[in-house]
Amino acid sequence: MVAPTVRLADRRVTRRSAAPARRSRIRHTLTVLSFMAPAVIGLAVFLLYPLASAVYFSFTKFDLISTPHWVGLSNYRAMAHDPTLRKAAVNTLYLVVVMVPARIAAAIGSALLLTRFKRGGGFYRTLFYLPALAPPVAATLAFVFLFKPGTGPVNTMLRSVGIQGPLWFNDPGWAKPSLVLLGLWGVGDIMIIFLAALLDVPQMYYEAAELDGANAWQRFRYVTWASISPVITFVAITGVIQTLQYFTQAAVAASVASGQATTGGGISSTFGYPLGSTFTYPLWLYMVGFRYNALGYANALAVVLFVVAFAATAVLLRRTFRGETTR
């Protein structure tokens, strides 16, 4: 290969003409960056910096007050010998596997139902959406009192028809299903998203499917489901992330059911009641960090939670994109 020979004079000419072009490129880049700055600064300050800090602190022994001490992988190694963490992870996994699909199914079902109403649609939409408007603490309090075994209206009604209701939030076997019921009661937040998506499906698709002889199930599977699948993915991803961070409802339900909702010294001694059945991963993270002063370990737990949420999101997105490519 022969090296190209460039005369010095030619190079000067090229440099002279390249300078304004470079200045123009820089100006363009700066303009683009200035428009992006608010978002970039926001991401850097409120996401990247805390994330980087969490990763750093996860390798330290830290109490929020004194200087952190580097301990390497000790915090991560400690997780392997932490039975409370295992219990919390299993409970959280249960909620992700059961509550997220159950809420999606209930939301799609109720949204489909609402699209059928010719009259009073607005009223029923409000009715279904209303529980989602209640603050989580108030909603959980009200729900636990509704299901209070001895005096709550649910068991009173069941008794009136000869059924002995369970202990709901007071029974380790029923506590998690009761939390799922609480999640279903407040399904209005995602129901409204599905309702908008369903109303957006062009009517002509259904007409074409009917002309092709599709039955009701086939119309749902190949028209409705196919049209709203991006929305389902979105709701599934946000649902998984929210459920991995499930805190308020589990904390309030446990303390109310245990009969110690208003103790002055903090309610964390009731977390998990009964028998650790409602003890979730974020509750343990909170207790370790803010009750037991082990902020380094709490940060390690937070990093693992982030990785799990990220992996779950990646898997869900990958499956969706693969499905779309296949179609």
Binding site: D82, N293, A294
Partner: protein, 451 residues
């Protein structure tokens, strides 16, 4: 490339590296500075100096308790016109810890729980008050033993007591009379016998009235409140868990489990699920659903307000063999000066006023209906103390009364034990010794991670 251009390139690279290094160092320094605020003052001012300036005070009180605190603070403002106090009520420990960590903590903080003393002393979130106490000749001998214990950690007294709670038992006089019992139980065996005599079952076998509800984590039935009954210890001298190695715990658990089994765990849980919240008007003792309840002096105010018709008596906690009868569990509110205090002298002046001034302590005790912490306040004629309240004062001053020891991991040792007890009382622990050893391991791991 010429030597000069290579030199320029190296220079550029070096300059860029320096810029990156400088930015990174500045960021690290800023982060470190933000995370670890330095104390504003190294020690107290010379004796005789008059404190002045602004003080921010955070406490957890609301409603009635907040009103009582405000009255005392109004007195402080009148007697200390040079100190301006700003008050924020309804604050909790987690918020206070974060604020101090961020360098924006209150000058003075008050906590409901002694659980924070270990971590606030060890981390330095609250400053050591020993130099101030020494300078102002505050007599610590005026405070009861447990109070001195729960305000200090490893020789550092970073907290002072703001009133105390003493625990004993409340018994329903009508239910006792109906069962033919004349006196409250003095031993754990008598407590179990009385509970069995008083308990009434419904025809379907469920509990109608419980003599005593022995489940741990029911209302105030925590292992901490029952530990003085058997003289059980929590932590060894090296700060590690002593639960598995102290046979007293095994005695207490065996007694409790046998009573749980007499009732039937499922029946007790079903009964508990039908009861009202502890701090509501539906409290089971106030409703006559439970005859004997472990509780503190503050229940007297609730009974007077919410259940004035209930006839009851109070007594010290029954003990294993009656030898330590009269003692009980003691705890209380604690107050300290933050390491970020802008005005430590004025902050200490407020702390001293609230914790070492007899008139203030008595006024606060009458308002909050808690036990005063100093001998002068306890014997003050201005203290409103009926016969029941006096029983709690006797428990408080009993030399064998005890508290939970401060630990750098806060209440971790109590709450890990409570987790175990929940499983144990449900019959899910096959080997008690192995279970207690496992509790020790879990607690020690947390102490290692956070202590």
């Amino acid at each position: 490339m010429t030597g000069r251009r290579r030199g320029h390139a190296r220079l550029r690279t070096l300059t860029r590296a320096r810029v990156v290094l400088a930015v990174a160092s500045t960021a690290a320094l800023l982060a470190a500075a933000a995370c670890t605020p330095a104390p504003r003052q190294s020690g107290p001012a010379p004796a005789g100096a008059q404190a002045s300036g602004a003080v921010e005070f955070w406490h957890p009180f609301t409603d009635r308790e907040n009103d009582a605190m405000n009255q005392v603070l109004a007195d402080f403002r009148a007697s200390h016109p040079k100190i301006k106090v700003t008050v924020k009520g309804g604050q909790d420990d987690a918020k206070m810890t974060q604020a101090i960590g961020a360098g924006n903590g209150p000058d003075v903080g008050l906590s409901y729980s002694t659980d924070i003393v270990g971590k606030f002393c060890s981390s330095g979130a609250w400053i050591d008050l020993n130099p101030y106490l020494k300078r102002d000749s505050v007599d610590l001998g005026a405070f009861a033993g447990p109070v001195k214990q729960y305000t200090e950690f490893n020789g550092k007294r970073c907290a002072m007591p703001v009133l105390a709670d003493a625990y004993g038992i409340y018994y329903n006089s009508d239910l006792f009379a109906a069962a033919g019992i004349a006196n409250p139980p003095r031993t754990l065996a008598e407590l179990a016998d009385d509970a069995k005599k008083i308990t009434v079952f419904k025809p379907d076998g469920s509990i109608k009235v419980a003599g005593f509800l022995p489940l741990f984590n029911f209302y105030e039935n925590s292992p901490a409140h029952l530990a003085p009954a058997v003289g059980a210890t929590w932590l060894a001298r090296d700060g590690k868990s002593a639960i598995g190695s102290d046979p007293a715990w095994k005695d207490l658990l065996t007694w409790q489990k046998s009573l749980v089994d007499w009732y039937g765990y499922d029946k007790l849980e079903a009964f508990r699920s039908s009861l009202g919240d502890e701090f509501s008007a539906d409290n089971a003792f106030q409703k006559g659903q439970v005859a004997i309840n472990i509780d503190a002096e503050f229940r007297l105010a609730f009974l007077a307000d919410q259940a004035p018709n209930v006839k009851f008596g109070v007594a010290p906690l029954p003990t294993r063999d009656g030898a330590n009868y009269g003692a009980g569990y003691v705890t209380g509110n604690v107050i300290g000066v933050s390491k970020t205090a802008k005005n430590p002298e004025a902050a200490w002046e407020l702390v001293k006023y609230l914790t070492a001034n007899t008139g203030t302590i008595v006024k606060l005790a009458n308002g909050l209906k808690n036990v005063p912490t100093t001998t002068d306040a306890l014997s003050s004629p201005a203290l409103e103390a009926g016969p029941e309240f006096k029983t709690f004062i006797q428990i408080f001053t009993n030399p064998r009364s005890s508290t939970t020891p401060p630990s750098p991991v806060g209440p971790a040792y109590q709450e890990k034990f409570q987790d175990f007890l929940s499983s144990y009382q449900a019959g899910k622990v096959a080997d008690l010794n192995a279970g207690l050893k496992d509790v020790d391991n879990q607690i020690n791991q947390l102490i290692q991670l956070g202590g």
